[in-house]
Amino acid sequence: MKHHKNHIERDNALVQPLNRRRALLTLGAAGAAGIALTPGIASAANKVKTTARIVIAGAGAAGLAAASRLSEALDGAKITLIDARKEHFYQPGFTLVGSGIKPAGYVVSTTAEYVPAGVELVQERVAEFDPEGKKVVTESGQAHAYDFLVVATGMKLEYGLIEGMEEDLIGKNGIGSIYHSPAKAEATWQAMSAFADKGGRGVFLRPGTEMKCAGAPLKYTFITDDYLSRRGQRSKAEVVYNSNNKALFSVPIVSEKVRMLFQERGIQVNYERVLKAIDPGKRIATFNTPAGTEEQGFDFIHVIPPMRAPEPIRNSPLPWQTGAWAAEGWLEVDKGTLRHVRYRNVFGVGDIAGVPKGKTAASVKWQVPVAVDHIVAEIAGKTSDALYTGYTSCPLITRLGRAMLVEFDYQNNLVPSFPGVIAPLEELWISWVMKTMALKPTYISMLRGRA
């Protein structure tokens, strides 16, 4: 990763202006009511004229945001968005569904409603990426040639890599997993709520792979602990968190704060435990540890599966060629520009990007404008100096009604949007209010390229 060092140094200069922009996203700015401006419509004159063919693989948060921004910036480009799924999931809301705060419908909408005019949506799966031939091939065998490719396929949840685990088990036998889908997040809520009614042993964990929203495993542990307390069952319950490595969070200062909170709440912590197998009938989870395997009984378990790149990506030349990211198949992109290291006309944004931080919607919000800026600049015959600093945000819920608004970058710096007002490592109601009220509208605005 030596070749990225200079980027980190340059990143620092960008942090301050970015913070100011984020600061304006505050809900607290009730003075916004006074703003009666209409959004400026980018006039055709400001757009870059081109006949470039741009293929965007994946119409999740990153793909849709990229489509919106590219169609806004370019005039005449042929933009093709490829994704088989008709539904769009607001994934940051899955924790709230799994906690009984919001219904499953809160996180479900349709992809079509966010596809900008002039962008073609191909409702198919990509079967093959051919960066040498500059084309992608869909399941039906149709080839889509491109001048630029934006890879935004997201990742695959690999429940099957845990012995004995099946997706159908979620919601049964005390097994939960909010990650799977809105319906399974709701089923997880039923299972967790039943556990909170009677107590027992609650087992929590995170996978040994890269994962999306590394805060969610912690949030769900905190929320379960809170429900147990509220229902008077905490004394009859054991809450155990199993970390895959020697930390609780990748940012040391946050990890330490979580450790303190876990200790305060009586949540036991095991380090270096990776879920290997699950026996739903006997309710036993088997973990790999440095000293061999370890069995843990459970009355409720929150399973978070290993995550890796979708198969067509792993079978292509696009992933990292060495290291842990090669095995998991994450795209080999420059962590500052998000441009593919070997294929200059390929960019990776969102969960699929092989960068050290940021598999969250907040990261997407800051990654997409950077990748788009580089594409548009290249089309216009210019160069862009836009860089992604690794900004990621996690409203880390620590109990119902409170969260810590944790924001950080590649260097593990805390980069609070509201320094001196919203302390990043304090459990605050205002952070919870942002999570429940402001985040979804901000996310939807991002899909439309307006935030």
């Binding site: 009730a30 916004a32 009511a33 959004p39 404008p369 409170r402 209010v433 901000t442």
Partner: protein
């Protein structure tokens, strides 16, 4: 990242409130215009009416907090730090000031609408 920040804020509020945003903005703008017109017409504040409106404003402030608690699936009892108290004060204050001005303006124009101009100040 070249966009103007107020537009982002506007976009977010538009997503949050939908058409309600424009209705709320209209109420704020029309309410303020009517309030200022009333001040000009009456050449100042009528203290009796202001006190009554303020009493109503306290109810408005409390209602704003209840609404906030409902939409955020939480309550001000979850407040844990200065930023939270600030938010509570802000929400309560906005509810108080908004409903006071609205009540004062309506109470001021209501008799004026029914009585000939000039007699509205009689009470």
């Amino acid at each position: 990242m070249k966009e103007l920040d107020p537009f982002i804020l506007l976009a977010v509020f538009q997503e949050m409130l939908g058409p309600l945003l424009w209705i709320l903005l209209a109420v704020v703008v029309l309410g303020l215009v009517a309030f200022v017109a009333l001040l000009v017409r009456e050449k100042g504040l009528v203290s009796r009416r202001l006190v009554r409106s303020e009493a109503l404003g306290i109810v408005g402030g409390a209602l704003a907090l209840v609404l906030m608690a409902k939409v955020s699936s939480s309550g001000f009892t979850d407040a844990a730090g200065p930023a939270d108290w600030f938010l509570i004060a802000l929400v309560f204050g906005a509810g108080l000031v908004g409903s006071t001005i609205l009540a004062y303006t309506i109470a001021g124009w209501w008799p004026a609408r029914r009585q000939p101009a000039g007699t509205a100040n009689a009470h």
